[in-house]
């Protein structure tokens, strides 16, 4: 594969950003969820 650094870098950047963003979202959600009652969570 030519330009492997650029190509793999793009994939790493894309998936790395997704993982970090998703992980942070879920983590903050869990932290907040622990302090709220179930009535405040209409999706349950």
């Amino acid at each position: 594969m030519t330009n492997a650094g650029f190509i793999l870098g793009s994939y790493a950047l894309t998936f790395g950003s997704i993982v970090i963003f998703a992980w942070r979202t879920v983590k903050v959600g869990k932290r907040l969820s622990a302090d709220l009652s179930d009535e405040d969570k209409p999706w349950l």
């Binding site: 594969m1 030519t2 330009n3 492997a4 650029f6 190509i7 793999l8 870098g9 793009s10 994939y11 950047l13 894309t14 998936f15 950003s17 997704i18 963003f21 998703a22 979202t25 879920v26 903050v28 959600g29 869990k30 907040l32 969820s33 622990a34 302090d35 709220l36 009652s37 179930d38 009535e39 405040d40 969570k41 209409p42 999706w43 349950l44």
Partner: protein, 256 residues
């Protein structure tokens, strides 16, 4: 210290923002994304003109698709908030969550696009209408998020940001048109040759399709989690739990 806290079951605490539906979507997203990696990096052939650089397209195009989808959802949710009879705050949170997702993916799009441009054009940036519009749109939505961060009540935040969200949509065709007209007067725009449009066939088109499906699922998953998180963030700020939490954590830290 006794605070009158509502009963919390261990199960819901652990669950956070996830539900059976999001778990199914999550598993589908992960499997589609693995397929995207396999097709994009291994199975699909190198392009005749672009060589292996075309592989960047399999993450670049789905990212830009996701970002624009997110901004469309932001605009729609802003409209629902502003023109709906109930002025739903939930619509506003969906708009905010969607814009946050869009900004992240717009940033990813810009960087992967530059890497692709470096290989194909030899330069990171061209003042092409599409690139320039995308960059300005990115900055506009950073501004949108800044407006959401302004002080004020939640109703104020919702109305301000809904209007900014709708103006940002108004801006897209005007910016695109003006940049296009500008560049059409400068011939060097086409001198560099390869256009963004490439003729894709067979496996390449399928890889791209896998990417778009994977990222659409990803968007739904992220939007559900993120808007739920924002809902809880509003509620916890409302009941002042945020400060109580910080206080408790400080106490825990001191005793440990």
């Amino acid at each position: 210290m006794t605070i009158d806290t509502p009963p919390i079951t261990a199960a819901t605490q652990r669950r956070g923002t996830s539900t059976p539906a999001t778990r199914v979507i999550g598993i589908l997203t992960i499997s589609m994304t693995i397929w995207l990696g396999v097709f994009g990096l291994v199975l699909s052939p190198a392009d005749r003109d672009q060589g292996d650089a075309v592989r960047i397209m399999y993450v670049h195009v789905p990212s830009v698709w996701l970002a624009y989808l997110a901004f469309i959802v932001t605009a729609l949710a802003s409209g629902v908030h502003l023109f709906g009879r109930r002025h739903s705050l939930q619509a506003d949170r969906v708009a905010g969550a969607s814009a946050e997702i869009g900004v992240v993916f717009m940033a990813v799009t810009l960087v992967t696009g530059m890497l692709w441009g470096r290989i194909t054009w030899g330069v990171y940036w061209q003042w092409d209408a599409r690139l320039t519009t995308t960059a300005l749109l990115f900055i506009s939505y950073v501004g949108y998020l800044a407006v959401r961060g302004l002080e004020g009540t939640r109703e104020q935040r919702a109305r301000r940001s809904a209007i900014v969200g709708l103006f940002a949509v108004l801006e897209v065709p005007l910016v695109h048109w003006s940049v296009k007209l500008w560049r059409s007067l400068h011939q060097e725009a086409t001198v560099l040759g390869t256009d963004l449009d490439v003729s894709l066939d067979g496996l390449m088109l399928f890889s791209l399709f896998v990417g778009v499906v994977a990222f659409t699922l990803l968007f739904v998953w992220l939007l559900l989690h993120r808007s739920r998180m924002l809902t809880m963030l509003d509620l916890s700020a409302e009941s002042g739990l945020e400060s109580a939490l910080a206080q408790r954590r400080a106490e825990g830290g001191a005793s440990a």
